[in-house]
């Protein structure tokens, strides 16, 4: 299809799967982290904030290497999870984990901003009307930050689609297993005569990224409208 050979096509499908899983799996923790950073004051607040943002500033290859150390079959976490039947090293799940960690800062940032835009006085008002904390969150905070959550998801998805350094370091570049779209482009560029394949993948990558940016911009404008109550 579209002149893509099966390997390239496989890479696109895998990338979509990896990105969707990375985005959805990190969402609950992302919302919780964003809420904690926006609303709670606790010892270690700055440390948590730094830790969340670390993948944004670390060289991706460093993140990938650290993941390999921790989640490789010899690593402390990896060895433990392997007993539970969950293997990350050199599997597509590992690519999803790498993508999730790399896109986490973007997701948390978008959600945190939208939580900070919600007036805590509204949550206070809900409490005086008899709503326990969880209910206040579900009926007041969550609906008001929904556009921010969606924007965070879109950004995270786009970032996950483009993740390369950490992924290739952690799970390598195995066609059909861990070869995501960027890895496939990289692989095609290494082979003489495969540039047309690479170019098609590049177009797909650009389209996905642009679409995500436009969608997230539109959603963040929706937050402003919603919080202003229009």
């Amino acid at each position: 299809m579209w002149g893509l050979d099966p390997a390239a096509w496989q890479a696109v499908i895998l990338s979509l799967k990896v990105s969707a899983v990375a985005m959805l799996a990190s969402l609950p923790l992302g919302i919780l982290t964003a809420y904690a950073l926006a609303r709670w004051r606790f010892p270690g607040h700055g440390l948590l904030n730094g830790l969340v943002h670390l993948p944004l500033v670390l060289p991706p290859v460093v993140t990938g290497y650290l993941l390999l150390l921790a989640f490789g079959t010899q690593g402390p976490v990896g060895a433990f999870l392997e007993q539970l039947g969950l293997v990350f090293a050199f599997r597509w799940t590992g690519a999803a984990l790498a993508a999730a960690i790399m896109c986490f800062p973007l997701m948390v940032r978008a959600i945190r901003l939208s939580i900070e835009a919600v007036d805590p006085k509204l949550e206070q008002a809900a409490a005086t009307l008899g709503a326990p904390r969880l209910r206040v969150f579900l009926t007041v905070t969550l609906p008001l930050i929904l556009p921010g959550i969606l924007a965070g998801m879109v950004l995270a998805f786009a970032k996950a689609m483009g993740e390369f350094g950490a992924t290739i370091t952690f799970v390598s570049n195995i066609p059909g297993q861990t070869q995501t779209l960027p890895s496939a482009i990289y692989a095609f560029l290494q082979v003489p005569g495969a540039e047309p394949q690479a170019a098609r993948l590049v177009l797909i990558a650009v389209a996905v990224a642009m679409g995500a940016l436009i969608l997230s911009e539109w959603l963040s404008r929706a937050i402003a409208r919603r919080v202003a109550g229009a």
């Binding site: 009307l129 709503a131 919603r226």
Partner: protein, 360 residues
Amino acid sequence: MMLDVAIRHRLPDFELDARFQAPAGVTALFGKSGAGKTTVVSTIAGLMRPDHARISVDGTTLIDSETGVNLPPHRRGIGYVFQEARLFPHLNVRANLLYGRRLSRRSGPPPRQIIQMLGIEHLLHRRPAALSGGEKSRVAIGRAILSNPRLLVMDEPLAALDQARKDEIMPYLERLRDQIGLPILYVSHALPEVARLATTIVLIDNGRVAAAGPAGEILCDPRHAPLLGSRQMGAILTARLSAQDADGLSRLDCATGPIWVPRVAAETGRTMRLRIMAHDVMLSLTPPQGISALNVLPARIVELHEDQDGVLVQLDTGGQGLLARVTARSAAALALRPGLQVHAILKAVSVTAANIGGAG
């Protein structure tokens, strides 16, 4: 209903140490801005953690620092009308109004009655952003009532509104007091509102309760003039609208006898609240003749209270307190002294709906 409050809390500028009781009806917490009123009510609602407090409503302890009881806000049953309406922007008026309803275990008035009383039937499907300031206030009041609270706290609900909006809301608040019978704790630094609504007044000064008692007594007690503002002193009388005379006057019967005022738009038989400002009362030693004032009440001087503006004269008119403001020169010229019989000439009487006795 009885609210029992004792709070100690260290604030940046002073120490709050307030103890008072609020019976049924409207209890006004009156004091200057920054006197600690909002700290008191947010502590009652559980929105603030005080250094030390013991608060109970009808025997239910909300917080007691001694025993460690401290109910979270959602379990206190304290409805709160904030200065800003704080409506939920993503819900329409109807959903805002019904937000607390399912969460309450107490029963209360049916939503239809409240919606009608507040005159917001036509707004139910609008979003808060499409409401005027006065409409937002009314919806916020309705939302708090419909959560079926034990007690309604209103923290300067009118302060953010202009005079026209205040006049628009005031009758709704009077109806709320007289028809629903929900105890209200009303925070204000505007005496006209307090004089119109309160059945009990608690005067807060610098974090302490300076005085507390029935509204009529507090507003008529010259000792509170410095806190209330001497221009604001005056008596509150309860009267029954007994007749609408043909010449455009209304006759109101109160404990001291009939009082005539320009036509009051209300049906006869209704209980009205009269406010007679001290500076609207003149004194005469003899029954005045040939004057235009309609209302002259025989009175006995109880006490004279001198301040920088002159003399406040506390009067007794058949068991009803009245306050008159005269100059020091007049007081001397008439040789006013406690026990003296005088005639009080009322230059103006303001009439508002309903009774000082409260609905409780």
